[in-house]
Amino acid sequence: MPFLLDCPHCGPREATEFVYGGEVMRRPTGRPPSRRELSSYLYFRENIPGPQREWWFHSSGCGRWLIANRDTRGGAVAATEAAGGAEGS
């Protein structure tokens, strides 16, 4: 992982300091999902070649989650944002 991630709390760091959390997904809420919706949520990912929103956990740093916009083709990270909650503020 030869790219940098700009941690909102720690600043730019090597990607090796982070744990990848996968694509940002929408969790089915409100009503029971159908089997198709549930299996799609659990087991299917877009896996697009291009920019995507993804979760990163700064395990060797602040121990917080952030969301990065990353181009999966080259690893270039366009932007990062702190994830919500008291932890992320």
Partner: protein
């Protein structure tokens, strides 16, 4: 002083009079401080350093710059070391690699002598195909003969340290020759943070052996004064999206710079003629490095063979250094630089060396005229010599540029491939740009020459001109195909010295131009680097409990449990477990994950992450909890204790704490709730005082009323124990009355010593991890990851009561668990018993009707029950008391009987006492 050592040279790297002793193939040798292994051996008259890869031909120094394969040796048991760049150290044991029984007499040379019919290109593929059943036999033979050197059985000293360092800079300059030094100085003077890497031990590049030693030293000083960080010798290994790893000694510097300046210069190219691999045939650069840097005569009588001015320069320099130059053979009809030559040197213009003669080293050369197109005429004369210095032009060392995304273009004026269209942030300076054209003569060809001598295109893989011709004739006329078929460019030099000759040969054979042939892809690593260095050192830190020293004093057998070192036992785990049942034991449980979950939304948050209800928990009460994934699979377990309305104290397993913290914070980030999670795992120590007499042991030490009614099961209390403020939890993991005491780590020793050391009626003894595992198994308490895997649900693991589907909140895993609850599942986790002497292995197969039907996850002999107990995944129909199944064990089947209730104290009266 050795006879081959020249008089003092300006800028020589050796320290005269400072001798260093080493051995080569067991014989004592001596060199000088500043020597490389190869220069010391050359000074000692050793010309043959290796045997070639395929034909086992004798090979000697050729490039003297760490590029070609000719000087690969084994140093102190580590193979693949380049003798020409490896600094000499006292006591080094150097051995040759690829010859048997000795370097001087190599039995495999017969391959070379017998000749071509047996070694055409693709020999292995064509010969060892049939009969197929004999392949294992062939393979054994091939493996014995192939390869260079043997890996040491034990990791050698060279590989024990390997550090990775990350360095951020404004500018990285790769290459410390004139262009690189000037670029680094300019950037640093402009205020940039600059790193400069050069693969030589001394900065200066070609300045060092071309009369500019003083200028090189001055530039190097200037750069250092400007604050440039110099990595020397430091080799760039590749380009990875802007990250350039530089290998220096036993460190890999991961340099990330906003700008990359590539000043890697050029690589001198060989010329094709028969016997162009004989010891004594050197590149002009190699001969000059040897003579000027190490003051070693590369030979006594030289013939220089060239197509450009570089040969003329080399002849002048060699003569100045004290080497007799018999003749210069130049392919140009009227070389412009000729007037610079002194009168004693004969210039043979419009000619080339047709063949180098000699068996173990060069003795003479045949010279012939060169016709148009580089075709040589018949031999005109023979010149006695023991050194042939060759200059076949230069190729830009553009690997790094090409990896960074530059396009490769053929440059007609220089007859070489250059990098074009550099990507943003990458610049090339100096001769690596490949556009400094001088007068060039034709590159001679040996085509049409029918004599038997070998003319090598690729020294690493022993590929000859005729092999290339044969490959093209067989249809491998693209450079990528020919590369794979011939393995040319795939050896230790990675194409540096054979890429261009291969392209030239294929172009000639196919009647095209090298520009149409192109080059093969440049891949990392650019320099040969030990794999151990890339792997780096193990950096996973081991964690130790605050009681580590106590465990060792007590004779504890320390063992890894995740990242923790834990006391496995103190001599007899069975007896330790029995003592917990009969009296009282003290178990260090400090490695448990311990988190404080606080905030107005804390109760709501826990209700959402756990499948059971925690918001209904009263203050100072405890509930067991299992964490499941969104797929409803068991992830971890532990206890949750409500300290006050907004504060919960959550424990996890030792191995799962990091993953649980990550998991909880992830959902917190997703939901954005008013909750704060604090990791107290290292801050707090914990110990479990358990056993029927634990109350009697604790009572005199604490202000807390530990009476059965005042402090019941699954309740928590705070207060002083042995003078230390503690949180005490009444839990039952080990099945006896017990108190899990949590305290600041700094006080753990005091508490531990006090509890164990207080004289009194209760004999409290330490119990280890293994005793705890026996005790929990007697209660059928599962351990996530030990007894569960990525497919285990709470229903399968016989914990249906932990899932509250009637909960109003949506919780993690709810949708999956709802679907699971409708299905019986394919297997269930059950307890089983077996006779005492028939303990099964963990992981053993459960056998039903002669077929595998499940597996054993835990199995121990219980002293208190006097039989074997365990947990196993079995088909659902066997999940009832009294069902019987078999367990495969060493070829026999052990009988086992299902028990769904805890084996020990099934009513739980003892832990609730």
């Amino acid at each position: 002083m050795s006879a081959r050592r020249l008089p003092e040279q300006p800028g020589e790297l050796i320290r005269r009079g400072r001798e260093i002793g080493f051995t080569f193939d067991g014989t004592e040798r001596r060199g000088l401080e500043g020597d490389t292994i190869a220069s010391a051996l050359a000074a000692d008259g050793q010309r043959v350093l290796s045997r070639s890869f395929k034909y086992h031909r004798p090979r000697g120094l050729f490039c003297c710059s760490g590029q070609c394969p000719n000087c690969l040796v084994d140093v102190d048991g580590a193979p693949g070391v380049r003798a020409c760049t490896e600094p000499l150290r006292e006591g080094m044991e150097v051995r040759h690699l690829n010859a048997w029984p000795s370097l001087e007499f190599d039995a495999m040379r017969a391959v070379d002598r017998v000749g071509r019919p047996f070694t055409p290109p693709g020999f292995y593929y064509k010969t060892f195909m049939r009969p197929r059943r004999l392949w294992p036999l062939y393979e054994r033979g091939i493996r014995r003969v192939a390869g260079l050197g043997r890996l040491p059985a034990e990791p050698s000293e060279r590989q024990t340290r390997a550090d990775h360092r990350t360095r951020h800079a404004d500018v990285l300059v790769v290459g410390g020759g004139r262009a690189g030094l000037e670029a680094a100085a300019d950037a640093a003077a402009a205020g940039a943070d600059v790193v400069l890497a050069d693969d030589g031990p001394v900065l200066g590049g070609r300045m060092l052996w071309s009369g500019f030693q003083a200028e090189a030293a001055a530039l190097a000083r200037h750069v250092a004064e400007l604050g440039v960080e110099v990595l020397s010798p430091g080799s760039a290994l590749g380009w990875f999206h802007g990250l350039v790893p530089i290998w220096q000694d036993d460190v890999i510097h991961r340099v990330r710079a906003a700008s990359l300046v590539v000043a890697t210069g050029t690589i001198p190219q060989p010329l094709p003629f028969r016997g162009n691999d004989l010891p004594g045939v050197l590149l002009c650069d190699g001969a000059l490095r040897l003579a000027t840097l190490y003051a070693v005569a590369p030979g006594t009588r030289a013939v220089v063979c060239t197509i450009d001015d570089e040969g003329i320069d080399a002849a002048i320099s060699l003569a100045e250094a004290g080497v007799e130059v018999a003749a210069i053979v130049d392919s140009r009809p009227a070389p412009a630089g000729a007037e610079r030559l002194s009168s004693g040197v004969e210039l043979i213009a419009g000619s080339t060396v047709l063949e180098a003669h000699g068996r173990a080293e060069v003795r003479a050369v045949s010279v012939a005229s060169v016709e148009a197109g580089g075709i040589p005429g018949p031999t005109a004369r023979r010149i006695e010599c023991d050194l042939v210095a060759v200059s076949g032009g230069r190729a830009p060392a553009a690997s790094l540029l090409m990896q960074a995304g530059a396009r490769v273009a053929y440059h007609d004026a220089t007859g070489a491939f250059v990098a074009a269209d550099l990507p943003p942030g990458v610049r090339a300076v100096g001769s690596v740009r490949g556009i400094e054209a001088g007068e060039r003569g034709p590159v001679p060809s040996v085509r049409g020459d029918r004599s038997g001598g070998r003319c090598f295109v690729c020294l690493c893989e022993d590929v000859t001109e005729k092999d290339v011709n044969a490959a093209v004739a067989e249809g491998f006329d693209s450079i990528e195909l020919a590369k794979r078929y011939l393995t040319a460019t795939m050896g230790p030099c990675q194409g540096r010295m054979c890429q261009l000759p291969s392209a030239r040969s294929i172009a000639r054979e196919t009647g095209t131009d090298p520009s149409e042939i192109g080059v093969t892809t440049a891949r990392p690593p650019i320099a040969a680097v030990p794999l151990g260095l890339i792997a780096g050192r193990q950096h996973e830190p081991g964690s130790r409990s605050a009681l580590d020293a106590q465990h060792r004093e007590l004779g504890g057998a320390m063992d890894w449990a995740g990242i923790w070192r834990r006391a496995y036992d103190y001599g007899d785990p069975g007896a330790e477990a029995l003592h917990v049942h009969r009296e009282a034991g003290l178990i260090d449980v400090s490695p448990l994950g311990k988190f404080l979950v606080q905030g107005p939304d804390a109760a709501e948050f826990l209700d959402r992450v756990y499948p059971n209800r925690l918001s209904t928990l009263d203050e100072m009460r405890i509930r067991y909890g299992v964490l499941v994934t969104e797929a409803g699979r068991i992830m971890d377990d532990g206890t949750v204790c409500r300290l006050d309305h907004e504060t919960f104290y959550v424990t996890t397993t030792t191995g799962g704490s990091a993953a649980v913290l990550q998991w909880l914070r992830w959902w917190l980030a997703e939901w954005g709730m008013e909750v704060r999670i604090t990791d107290l795992t290292g801050t707090l120590g914990a110990m479990n005082l358990a056993g029927p007499r634990s109350r009697d042991a604790l009572a005199p030490l604490t202000e807390i009323d530990v009476g059965g009614e005042a402090f019941p099961y699954l309740h928590a209390r705070t207060g002083r124990v042995a003078g230390v403020e503690c949180l005490v939890l009444r839990l039952g993991f080990v099945g006896e009355l017990g108190y899990e005491i949590h305290m600041p780590s700094v006080h753990a020793r005091r508490l531990w010593s006090t509890i164990l050391g207080t004289p009194g009626p209760v004999d409290v003894r330490p119990a280890g991890l293994e005793a705890q595992r026996i005790l929990r198994l007697e209660k059928q308490h599962l351990i996530p990851s030990q007894d569960t895997d990525s497919e285990s649900t709470p229903y399968g693991a016989s914990l249906p009561w932990i899932v509250k589907l009637d909960k109003e909140q949506d919780f993690l895993g709810r949708w999956s668990l709802e679907m699971e609850s409708d299905h019986p599942g394919t297997e269930k986790l059950v307890g089983f018993t077996a006779p005492r002497d028939q303990a099964a292995e963990e992981g053993a197969a459960v056998v039903v009707d002669g077929a595998p039907a499940g597996r054993v996850t835990s199995c121990r002999v219980s002293e208190v029950l006097d039989r074997t107990v365990g947990l196993a995944w079995v088909p659902p129909e066997l999940a009832q008391d009294g069902a019987e199944f078999g367990i495969a064990s060493n070829g026999s089947i052990l009988p086992a009987t299902v028990t769904t209730e805890p084996f020990y104290d099934p009513e739980g009266e003892r832990q609730r006492a």
